[in-house]
């Protein structure tokens, strides 16, 4: 890649990550006010995975996620106003206030939906890949889940089907070390999770998930390959959750964390990693700070939008349950 292209890419990744970080820091600030009445699962510390994937995805590619959905939503380009409105349970939210933080959706941006049941979108993403295959394999589907996703049987059933039918799907395992307070070795003898389905014929690889350009490059290669006809792939990205599983607080002192994790996390801050690379590639700190202000402003606007938006009218309660023909 040329130096210019490289810098451009890093810039895009950084901007996406800034979007996630600053939006979520705003959420952290707002949460104690009880304006957001919904369990929240923050992506802070894990921004590089969402950003890298988003940039690696083609226009027509699709992604299914989990309740930890702010990161993917923002990175894929979901409307920030609709995000905050959704957190506020407003009618103008991306799910019209029905879904809240755990059920983000932005089909126009490629985010098909997020679910609060562990692993539950894995087979659905697989089925969407089947639809792609039946309709000419013009797009790939990404199934994004945590290290807890591979605990559920549907993961293996889905993988088996995908490799059997050679579907255009990339399974993305975002390993943030914990499923709630349970570590990977608490739940698996096989701790190299990228290998967990290799008996079924799924090739897997593990990558550093805190370096967005690395995520981007590895994901792009995999997505382009499956779109072009290659067998399904599993990408494991190692990263780290900075805040409590659910909620806005830090919990570094909690028993499930090892001492020193906070320092380790800060030393691998995805934003700093990419920022450093950007500056090495010639970007000026002033320019980057400008982006920051710009994103902050977008976030403030989104919050304002959410606050000023109307709640769903009572008549919305029973709407949406069934579609009419």
């Amino acid at each position: 890649m040329s130096a210019k292209a490289d810098r451009e890419l890093l810039g895009k990744l950084y901007r996406l990550m800034l979007g996630i970080r600053l939006a979520e820091e705003k959420i952290v600030e707002l949460y104690p006010t009880d304006k957001i009445q919904s369990p929240i699962h923050l992506s802070i510390g894990q921004e590089a995975v969402s950003a890298g994937l988003a940039l690696a995805m083609g226009e027509a590619d699709r992604l299914y996620g989990t309740y930890r959905g702010h990161g993917p939503y923002i990175a894929l380009g979901g409307d920030l106003k609709k995000l905050f409105a959704e957190l506020y349970g407003k009618d103008t939210g991306c799910a019209r206030g029905k879904g809240g933080s755990m059920h983000l959706v932005a089909p126009e941006a490629g985010l098909m939906g997020c679910s609060a049941i562990v692993a539950s979108t894995i087979p659905i993403a697989t089925g969407h890949a089947l639809a792609s295959q039946m309709r000419g394999r013009r797009y790939a589907v990404l199934s994004l889940f945590g290290d807890g996703g591979v605990d559920e049987g549907v993961f293996f059933e889905s993988v088996n089907f995908a490799v059997l039918k050679n579907l255009p799907i990339v399974y993305v395992l975002e390993n943030n070390r914990y499923a709630i307070h349970s570590t990977v070795p608490d739940r698996h003898k096989q701790t190299e999770l990228f290998r967990i389905a290799e008996g079924l014929g799924l090739r897997g690889e593990r990558f550093d998930g805190n370096d967005a350009s690395n995520v981007y490059a590895t994901a792009k290669r995999a997505i382009d390959a499956v779109r072009a006809g290659s067998v399904p792939a599993l990408l494991e990205y190692t990263t780290y959750r900075w805040r409590e599983h659910v909620g806005s607080q830090e919990d570094y002192a909690a028993a499930y964390r090892a001492p020193g994790e906070r320092e380790e996390a800060l030393a691998h801050d995805p934003l700093q990693i990419t920022r450093k690379a950007l500056i090495e590639a010639g970007a000026s700190p002033v320019e980057l700070d400008g982006w920051r202000s710009q994103v902050l402003q977008e976030v403030e606007e989104a919050v304002r939008f959410a606050e000023q938006s109307p709640s769903p009218a009572p008549g919305r309660l029973l709407a949406d349950v069934y579609a009419s023909r």
Binding site: C94, G113, S120, T121, N160, D320
Partner: protein, 343 residues
């Protein structure tokens, strides 16, 4: 008009739908084998190819999710289970996902999947091949449920289900497969909400679905010979339930027996009895009565299995009792739809 049996009617509907709409496809264990799920998928593989008619691994959970995802990708999957007992493995995908997808995302997308599931009975199906899970599905909003009784129902409801933008589960009773009936032209446009008065009567209403409607009709013939006019109402759609037809009949007769293919406790029969107590109370002359499978897992032993299900005889007995009449010495004839094995 064509005269076909229930299985053939399903086959006809599938073939019609697949011809008209290239996004319709059929998946499930055994859909491509020589038995073709009691013939219902026969020849579809040859006609529409492996892409649109395929066997699946024995993975009901993920395969249901695959159907949901295919639907979100623009397809119209029909997912077939040779026994509805296997749906327990698909509950998460059916009820946490398919049923909620549309509402949970504020209407962003719909999930047009069709699930066909066969209710087993007889020839020693036993505890795990005889269940009838309609009430479990029906309890949860966002998914439709149908129980076609006649070949015409089977054809039209399957078409209506495929055309429906919502998830639909159809329960087909194994003992109905050989029943023959007249079929209208295949029609997408029929509404998926219907209760049918199978037989008019003035003395009491028997609401009975699926194979229970067949037994109830037999009972009604017998009752007529003894001067009792039973009205048989068959709610072929459980969700949405056609309350108007059901309540209309109860208001007319003032008496209600409800018979569902499953257990009564929290079952469809409980729902309909509750509906009567809520909305037709003032018309009721008598306590409502429910019949269903006895409160035990289904036994294999034939003499016990015979006691396990309601039949024309026990239905007639219940009706005589409700009419405050003694049952005649001669019992209502028992139907002979019990099929011979092995499956």
């Amino acid at each position: 008009m064509k005269t076909l049996n229930y299985g053939q009617a399903i086959h006809r509907a599938l073939e019609f739908a697949m011809e008209k709409d290239p996004s319709v496809f059929v998946m499930g264990i055994g859909v491509d084998d020589h038995k073709a799920v009691f013939g219902t998928t026969k020849g579809l593989l040859e006609k529409f190819g492996r892409e649109r008619v395929f066997d699946t691994p024995i993975s009901e959970g993920a395969m249901t999710g695959v159907a949901v995802g295919a639907a979100l990708g623009g397809m119209r999957p029909v997912h077939i289970h040779i026994r509805s007992d296997f749906l327990y493995l698909a509950m998460d995908q059916l009820l946490n996902m398919a049923a909620k997808w549309r509402s949970m995302f504020g209407g962003a997308a719909s999930v047009p999947i069709v699930v066909r599931a066969v209710i087993g009975r007889s020839w020693g199906q036993g505890a795990q091949h005889s269940q009838s899970l309609q009430s479990l599905i029906a309890h949860v909003p966002g998914i439709k449920v149908g129980m076609p009784t006649t070949p015409a129902d089977a054809q039209q409801m399957l078409l209506a289900a495929i055309a429906d933008p919502n998830p639909v589960v159809l329960f087909e009773h194994r003992l109905l497969y050989d029943i023959v009936g007249e079929l209208p032209e295949p029609d997408w446009a029929v509404e998926f909400k219907r209760a049918v008065v199978r037989r008019p009567g003035k003395d009491l209403t028997i609401v009975a679905n699926s194979y229970m409607a067949v037994e109830a009709l037999k009972a009604a013939e017998f009752l007529q010979e003894h001067g009792i006019e039973a009205e048989i109402v068959d709610p072929v759609t459980v969700v949405p339930l056609d309350e108007a037809v059901i309540l209309g009949s109860i208001r007319k007769t003032g008496r209600l027996i409800v018979i569902d293919t499953s257990w009564t406790f929290c079952g469809v029969s409980a729902e309909i009895a509750a509906l009567a107590a809520e909305k037709a109370f003032s018309s009721l002359k008598q306590p409502v009565l429910r019949l269903g499978m006895q409160p035990t897992p289904c036994p294999v032993s034939k003499p016990l299995e015979n006691l396990f299900y309601p039949n024309a005889g026990t239905i007639a007995d219940a009706a005589f009792k409700m009419m405050e009449r003694r049952s005649p010495e001669l019992r209502a004839p028992v139907l002979t739809h019990a099929f011979k094995g092995p499956f």
